[in-house]
């Protein structure tokens, strides 16, 4: 009982810091979902483009990003590229990037590759006859995509997109490695002072759980509203 009281006290003390961290986690996830979806749409359409070059480029992007760990991508953007630019620029000049910025860039680029595959699969799942019917009426490929194929594909990609966003939110925890003060990092800082890892990390797990359950509820609601079958 005593230990439970102690843990709760620590959790209450850490709560404001953890909530600030959770806010950063939500911000980074939301921005990365936004830019990742844009990138994913462009790359996914590029992957299906009649142009061999575009489709190859898109495939390489997806393979490179999915074939390397997010942590390494984050390190390349936070440490690697600024160091390269520093070495290339005149002596005495140092290029830096804010951790928060690096985090959003890395997560957007990373998520974009997964979202591209989701969009590609969604578009390909629309029956071939839909494109043919649209083209037979005189629509261009672009018009057929916009008015016929994409609206049907969007409904089908809602469930896998939801999964991707949940995975992305959990993956932002590795951003603690470059000092982004998101949820895990805030917890680490608190633990390093108080030496109370158990209540803090369990508390953090619960916050993630609340966030991910919220996303999946919201996805389920969107599915119902769009009439996804």
């Amino acid at each position: 009982m005593e230990i439970l009281n102690l843990y709760l006290t620590h959790l209450m003390k850490a709560a404001p810091a953890l909530l600030r961290g959770a806010l950063i986690t939500i911000e980074i996830t939301a921005m990365s979902v936004f830019f990742g979806t844009l990138i994913g749409l462009v790359v996914g359409l590029g992957r299906l483009s009649p142009s061999k070059l575009l489709s190859r480029l898109a495939a390489v992007y997806v393979d490179v990003i999915r074939g390397t760990p997010l942590l390494v991508q984050v390190f390349i953007i936070y440490f690697g590229i600024p160091a390269l630019l520093t070495q290339l620029s005149e002596p005495g000049h140092t290029v830096r990037i804010a951790p928060f910025m690096a985090a959003i860039i890395a997560c957007s680029i990373n998520s974009g590759a997964y979202v591209a595959e989701i969009f590609r699969a969604g578009i390909q799942s629309v029956e071939k006859g839909q494109m043919e019917a649209a083209r037979s009426l005189g629509m261009t490929r672009g018009q057929a995509m916009r008015y016929i194929i994409l609206p049907q594909a969007f409904r089908r990609v809602v469930p896998p997109l939801g999964n991707e966003f949940i995975a992305l939110m959990k993956d932002t925890s590795i951003l603690s490695a470059i000092g982004v003060e998101e949820l895990v990092r805030k917890g680490q800082l608190y633990v390093s002072v108080t030496y109370q890892p158990f209540p803090i990390y369990v508390g953090i797990a619960l916050v993630y759980l609340v966030l991910t359950v919220t996303i999946s509820r919201w996805v389920a609601y969107t599915e119902r509203r769009l009439g996804v079958k």
Binding site: G129, S136, L137, Q143
Partner: protein, 240 residues
């Protein structure tokens, strides 16, 4: 209206059309028959370039569509197509299905396009279903909407690829009735079908295809009563 010369089509190394020559005049109704896999659909789809010809010339309404420079989207506005599986757009209601292309392709105002859509729905007997989703309609109703959708572009030519083959028998008649009235109004039509009654009644000419070639063609009476080629005789004896 349609002129086809030396049309060849390969899918990879599979030869599907083997040199088709064919002239179709304005207001003519041509029915294409032949065994499954003989290339009927491929032939039809070469007429609006849903399939690209491997060799040969296809001229539609004065435009050579086998010329890579031609604006195929312009030509397709004048060539309606009706598919075996309807291919209605499931995410929009019947009225929008019909009005979409006139608005987006021809740039008609939404209201004018919907007015045209309603007139066409009345014509195919489905005005009461304007707000329905395609899924809520029977097969025969969906196919009538598909015909109205194609007509909304005011085409000069209509292509039908087995329009009644996916229908329950009791719904075949309602679709054929719409097609017959279209033929009477003078529409140029190319129809792939197994409905021999329809061919007898409205076709000006019947084309029998086999193995990627036009084996025999002529007036329906001549083809059905007195086929010349053994392969035509064999095919007709199986289906009549």
């Amino acid at each position: 209206m349609i002129s086809v010369q030396g049309l060849h089509k390969y899918f990879g190394s599979l030869k599907v059309l083997n040199g088709i020559d064919c002239e179709i005049k304005a207001q003519e109704v041509v029915v294409v028959i032949g065994p499954s896999g003989s290339g009927k659909s491929t032939f039809l789809r070469c007429l609006n370039q849903l399939e690209e010809a491997t060799a040969g010339r296809v001229v539609v309404d004065g435009v050579e569509i086998t010329d890579p420079q031609c604006d195929i989207n312009k030509v397709r506005q004048r060539v309606g197509m009706v598919f075996q599986r309807f291919n209605l757009f499931p995410h929009m209601n019947v009225l929008k299905n019909i009005a979409l292309a006139p608005v987006k392709v021809k740039g008609l105002p939404q209201e004018e396009a919907e007015q045209i859509a309603r007139e066409l729905l009345a014509k195919v007997g489905l005005l009461d279903n304007a707000e329905a989703l395609p899924d809520e309609l029977s097969g025969g109703q969906q196919q009538r909407v598909a015909i109205a959708r194609a007509l909304a572009m005011q085409p000069k030519i209509m292509l039908f690829d087995e329009p009644t083959s996916a229908l329950d028998p009791e719904m075949v008649g309602e679709v054929l009735a719409v097609m017959k009235s279209l033929a009477r109004e003078g529409m140029t039509m190319v129809v792939v079908t197994h409905e021999m009654g329809f061919a007898r009644e409205v076709a000006d000419r019947v084309i029998f295809m086999d193995e990627g070639l036009i084996v025999e063609e002529g007036a329906p009476e001549a083809i059905f009563k007195n086929p010349q080629h053994p392969r035509t005789q064999a095919f007709l004896s199986k289906i009549l």
